[in-house]
């Protein structure tokens, strides 16, 4: 629990003067993501603590190094939650890293993503300037949305030092239904269910089983369970299943085989690729385990209306994110230049050219 922004600022300024590069590290729980980055470690975990939390306003502001576990505990006491269900790859996972890597859990299509819930940030740019964007209110359209721009930038634009978020009340009740079902059938059903006005809050397919989570008012959840259950059964420890899915602790995620993440049209036919698949986000996020080339995977992702990244394992010297079109690549290089003219932060972490 400390404010070390001054020290971080000095480190950035002296790196800039010395012409050295910095590798931003929060809880170090996502070091497996992105490309291997050179640069001296810039440790942010010390910049930690909740700055303000007003449950009635549904707004929480915390320093970027604050562990997610600390936020979740504070929200729990008030019956509230981080609605984007951020993965906790370890107990040290931080708020800043979650935003920079754009990490959201199973409820994402229904309950929003981390980028959706960000209201404002403070950021140290490559000139060592400590800037504030957005705010602590629900709606703010003054200036460009620099806060949400950070989602997925993986620290390439600067060091996020503080984040304000919209938080939400926890649902009164949650139930999970499980059905035995092959992939294609499950894909169709997930999408049809998502088009119904019911309290669906997560939909996942794994090992020939479809999992649907319902959350909301007691009466609504009970009634939907009655209407949808059919041949399915209720899972007793549903919450444990979704938490394990969120934190990638299911057996599917074990082992060293490369883990690919597809972010695609939820209705797209699944790529014809032998091997293990896990479908989440009602079909919009799909995981695949196995060796493949980036070029081959990109082709499959584009056919499915989306993009792919090599999430974990495999070759982390090559590109691990879906290629950008030439115009978007130039644009992102120019944006990088506008925030970090000397390329101090996370060189090559997101793309080799960034």
């Amino acid at each position: 629990m400390a404010d070390i922004a001054k020290r971080l600022q000095e480190q950035i300024l002296s790196a800039r003067d010395a012409g050295t590069k910095l590798n931003i590290i929060g809880g170090n729980s996502k070091s497996f993501m992105g490309r291997v980055s050179s640069g001296e470690p810039l440790m942010v975990a010390g910049h930690s603590g909740i700055v303000s939390y007003q449950p009635v306003e549904l707004v929480l502001t915390a320093r970027a190094g604050t562990p997610l576990t600390e936020l979740v505990a504070a929200l729990d006491e008030q019956g509230q939650m981080l609605s984007f269900e951020p993965p906790r790859f370890s107990n040290e996972s931080t708020l800043g890293g979650t935003l920079a890597c754009n990490q959201s859990g199973p409820g994402r299509p229904w309950w929003s993503s981390v980028r959706d819930q960000v209201l404002g940030i403070r950021l140290l740019n490559g000139r060592g300037e400590h800037l504030r964007f957005g705010g602590q209110v629900m709606k703010n359209v003054a200036g460009y949305d620099v806060s949400r721009l950070q989602a997925g930038a993986m620290g390439s634009l600067g060091l996020i030092t503080e984040v304000s978020l919209k938080v939400l009340p926890k649902p009164a009740v949650t139930r999970t239904l499980v059905f035995d079902m092959p992939l294609n059938e499950a894909l169709g059903l997930m999408n049809r269910r998502a088009a119904e006005p019911k309290p669906l809050s997560a939909a996942c397919w794994l090992d020939n089983r479809l999992y649907l989570r319902l959350s909301g008012a007691q009466a609504a959840v009970d009634a939907t369970v009655r209407q949808w259950q059919g041949q399915g059964e209720q899972l007793d420890d549903g919450d444990a299943f979704w938490a394990a899915l969120r934190d990638q602790e299911l057996a599917f995620f074990d082992g060293a085989a490369p883990l690919w993440r597809f972010s695609v049209n939820p209705t797209a036919a699944n790529p014809a690729l032998e091997g293990d698949w896990l479908l989440d986000w009602g079909g919009a996020q799909r995981w695949y385990r196995g060796d493949a080339s980036m070029a081959q995977m990109q082709e499959l992702a584009e056919a499915a209306g989306g993009q792919v990244s090599l999430f974990r394992g495999g070759d982390r010297q090559g590109e691990v994110m879906h290629a950008q079109s030439p115009v978007l690549q130039t644009l992102q290089q120019r944006l990088k230049q506008s925030f970090d003219p000397d390329g101090v932060f996370n060189p090559g972490r997101l793309y080799s050219w960034m």
């Binding site: 980028r115 740019n125 800037l131 709606k139 359209v141 009340p169 008012a217 009466a219 209306g305 120019r334």
Partner: protein
Amino acid sequence: MTDQDKPGKAQLAEMFRDFIDAEYVIVDEETLRPYECDGLSMYCEMPLIVVLPETVQQVQRVLRICHQYSIPVVARGAGTGLCAGAMPHAEGVVLSLAKFNRILSIDPLARSARVQPGVRNLAITEAAAEHGLYYGPDPSSQIACTIGGNVAENSGGVHCLKYGLTVHNILSVEMLSVEGEKLIIGSQGLDSCGMDLLALITGSEGLLGIVTEVTVKLLPQPEKAQVVMAAFDSVQQAGDAVGGIISRGIIPAGLEMMDTHAIRAAEDFAKAGYPRDAQALLLCEVDGTAEEVQEHITQVEGLFATFGATSVRTSQSEAERALLWKGRKSAFPAVGRISPDYYCMDGTIPRGQLAHVLTEMQRMSDEYQLRVANVFHAGDGNLHPLILFDANVPGEFEKTEEFGARILELCVEVGGCITGEHGVGIEKIRQMPIQFNEQELVQFNAIKDAFDPAGTLNPGKGVPTLRHCQEHRALETKPAPASMTTKGAA
């Protein structure tokens, strides 16, 4: 490029007529007139030329010509904006997207629609209705405003407390850069690799590119929706009731407040049955499954009573629900009837500051001798004070503007911001330095530079430009010079 090389008006029009129907290249004063302002008619400027292209290729050619000769380009949707964002540039071209009014496809299973930028907000919901779907954000101007304008302003509506703003409800945009190059931002998935450019574009007020196609998310129509109307003797009580609902874990679909002036004006206009003697009125809509709505409505009614409501009424039919909303949705025109002119502000504040802000505003209202009516997206703290004035009284608009500026300063002072959904445009450019320091404004300008180095896309709007950009870049780490200009401001 020297001024001599620049084509004159007639020459430029000739170039456009080469590939756009002559009648859609407008140069005569009478036909240009309706384009001189947007919904904020106090700010006017006649453009050089208005073009209404019909194809993306035509838009590309317009952009290439304007880029070549450094001619300002101002995109325009329906012109309902409330910040003079679409106000023309005297030496520039207005690029109207009005002819891009086709819904290209609806995918009911994937719950998305591909639409052209000139499609009206409500038209999307109407087209999606046959699939039991709708488009979430519902600005009060939804019959008229376009999705392109919505993306440019990141517009909200009375239902954005639960369903989010434009930025939460779009999947991708196709955009043309200032050079006319095509960019696809976003995908059919829920996110893309790299920095979130889709968020950056949303709310960028036509300063970064021209949106030529939008893919929006569609939501299932709720099974049921009901609205509870509650009257209170004070805004403080009503404000506390809002907090009470949210602390109870209920996120209403919409939660709106009106003060006594707004209640009376709306009632006279819409005959919705609002209690004319109330000091504050809350409209709380709950939607979801039939069971859920029943459960929540009972809770909300109980809470309102606990917080001292003098009357509580719950809609018993769709017609009654529509009627209760009609008053709120027509609050602006309603206020327009009780005063020759009104000026709509758009600050956002932490909800807890409501009573303080309203009291201060009343004090200023007395000071300036100008009445103010308040409608308020209470759930998310977005305030719309409407200052009533008469433009024909010399000096009264200036006084109104000053009053408005002080309201915005107050919003920033209590931890809020100068605009929640209407945008900065020209109107609030002078308040930008209140919310942002110079380094932050320099960073905004650097973002603009990354997209539009010559600064020809909607110049003078959104972000104050630094007069000495060149010098400024050379100085970089030194403190920024204090020379902000609001170039182009009327």
